[in-house]
């Protein structure tokens, strides 16, 4: 195979000098680390391998760096577009990818609330919704949780796993590829057991006497708390309920079960001024931002139906706050200024 140049390699040009077998080993490591269950022992061995020789580290840096280049395509929506665009034309895969895309982007209304944390941050939080309220949470790894009315979750992300505890109510989960190396499993825990995502979109609902799971894309592995060995893998379009001791027979997922999803805006390291200009298209109030904060960068996914709240939320990740002015003729202006 002839050598191919790419601008993706510019930052790690020195990796081109590593022996082919080191590059091959690095790729093998990546594949092993992306496996379903990665024992801690393997991670230790991988660390040792990296440290064993500068070539190993160079090869691994190349992987990390190019992985970053793939980021614009690596979230459920963008991955759908990549699948659709790169699949052979008029193929079954292309049609399926385009269909998946439409499902992924299913838009409802009536959501509000954004939680966006900086990447790599270890955090834990309790989030609750009031009766009649819905809330969308965007976790640091790109995973999205939509809490339905009267629900509560505790989010516990750790070095080795991403765990969400559903205390009450119902949650819709859309997992994203984990940016962490190695990728961590994603689990929803209820009082009856766990539902583990296998790259997916699904709902989990906690009832007093059981947990209900519906899968819209991908697959979910259910493990009753008292019988963890008795697991069941639920696939797309399937529904099942479980108690701490047993799992029901799977049935078809009820149609429209996730109809409480949302409309949103996606920003990826977007200039604040551009972000505000985009948002302004959806707002009756006139929006602007101070020149001194115009170049701050915004990342995250934000709902469009309450623009004022999105602006307020920006203050949690950026050093900005909103100033609201109502002109004497009644027009409202919201301006972002330095905090």
């Amino acid at each position: 195979m002839p050598a191919i140049r790419s601008t993706w390699y510019d930052a790690t040009a020195d990796a081109a000098t590593v022996p082919a077998e080191v590059a091959e080993r690095a790729v093998e490591w990546l594949i092993e680390l992306q496996s379903d269950d990665v024992p801690p022992q393997l991670i230790a061995e991988w660390r040792q391998w990296r440290e064993a020789h500068p070539d190993h580290e160079r090869a691994w840096q190349r992987i990390e760096s190019v992985k970053g280049k793939l980021a614009p395509l690596a979230s459920p929506v963008e991955a759908g577009i990549a699948q659709a665009a790169l699949a052979p034309p008029a193929s079954k895969q292309r049609r399926r990818a385009v269909k998946t895309l439409a499902v992924l982007l299913f838009a409802g209304s009536g959501t509000w609330g954004v939680w966006h944390a900086s990447p790599w941050r270890r955090w834990s939080a309790d989030v609750r919704t009031a009766v009649g309220e819905r809330r969308t949470l965007h976790l640091a790894d790109g995973t999205q949780l939509v809490l339905n009315t009267d629900s509560a979750v505790d989010i516990a992300y750790r070095e080795d796993e991403r765990r969400v505890r559903l205390m009450a109510g119902e949650v819709l989960i859309t997992t994203a590829p984990d940016t962490h190396t190695p990728p961590r499993p994603f689990l929803v825990e209820t009082s009856q057991g766990t539902a583990r995502a296998l790259g997916t979109r699904y709902t989990v609902r906690q009832f007093d006497d059981g947990t209900h799971v519906s899968v819209y894309q991908g697959a979910v592995e259910i493990r009753p708390r008292a019988r963890p060995a008795q697991s069941l893998i639920l696939r797309t379009g399937m529904h099942a309920s479980y108690t701490a001791h047993s799992i029901s027979d799977p049935s078809d997922a009820p149609a429209g079960d996730a109809a409480w999803a949302e409309g949103f805006i996606v920003a990826r390291s977007m200039r604040l001024a551009d972000f505000v200009a985009e948002l302004a298209r959806y707002s009756n109030a006139s929006l602007s931002c101070d020149a001194s904060v115009a170049n701050l960068r915004v990342s995250g996914t934000f709902p469009l139906d309450d623009v004022g709240k999105v602006l307020d939320t920006l203050g949690t990740t950026l050093a900005v706050r909103t100033e609201s002015v109502t002109r004497f003729w009644g027009a409202r202006e919201i301006r972002l200024v330095p905090a």
């Binding site: 195979m1 002839p2 050598a3 191919i4 140049r5 790419s6 601008t7 993706w8 390699y9 081109a16 590593v18 082919a20 590059a23 091959e24 790729v27 093998e28 990546l30 594949i31 992306q34 496996s35 379903d36 992987i63 190019v66 280049k69 793939l70 614009p72 395509l73 690596a74 929506v77 963008e78 991955a79 759908g80 577009i81 990549a82 699948q83 659709a84 665009a85 790169l86 699949a87 034309p89 990818a97 385009v98 895309l101 439409a102 982007l105 299913f106 838009a107 590829p177 296998l198 790259g199 409309g263 949103f264 805006i265 996606v266 990826r268 977007m270 551009d274 985009e278 298209r281 469009l304």
Partner: protein, 172 residues
């Protein structure tokens, strides 16, 4: 390359003798005078940037058409991918708004990925996309594509090698 003021370089000679002919050749192939002029131009730009242009040619036009043909197939490839991309975007509901910069960045990423994975069998590319972009597990990819998990891993090794280390030459 020769210093200015001395003998004209190989590329200059090629240009003065064959540029119009190459444009005509490309025009017949592409059906557009404008695209033909662009690609003819790109062909010479590419030669100027290359340190591997021979000093003399037996068949200068065969050499030029080889380089130009490569650019033409890149051109078609890019057009095809752009069309597929726009088609995919057309299915995105209006609620999702990407800025022109984001769209451009996604397209550039796609084009580069497509280039790096070029020549791999379709199923290998699919395994890569499902696993690396869609975060499917190996077992899921195996199920989606109807192949075994060891085969998924073998395909991934091939595609990842190309994605991450295409600048290395492999014997295998």
């Amino acid at each position: 390359m020769q210093t200015p003021g001395t003998l004209p370089s190989t590329v200059e000679l090629l240009y003065s003798h064959h540029h119009s002919w190459l444009k005509g050749w490309l025009h017949r192939r592409l059906g557009s005078a404008e695209q033909a002029a662009d690609i003819a131009h790109d062909t010479f730009v590419r030669l100027l940037g290359s340190d591997r242009v021979p000093a003399t040619f037996d068949e200068p036009r065969a050499y030029l058409t080889t380089v130009a043909q490569h650019l033409v197939s890149n051109h078609w490839r890019r057009q095809k991918l752009e069309r597929a991309y726009l088609e995919a975007l057309a299915h995105v509901p209006r609620e999702v708004e990407w800025s022109p910069e984001t769209r451009a960045m996604m397209l550039e990423t796609l084009l580069e990925l497509d280039r790096l994975l070029d020549g791999l069998p379709s199923i290998v590319r699919q395994a890569f996309l499902h696993s690396q972009l869609d975060a499917q597990t190996h077992a899921q990819v195996a199920q989606t594509l109807g192949i075994s998990v060891p085969t998924v891993k073998r395909y991934l090794a091939k595609a990842l090698q190309r994605c991450y280390f295409a600048d290395l030459s492999f014997l295998g």
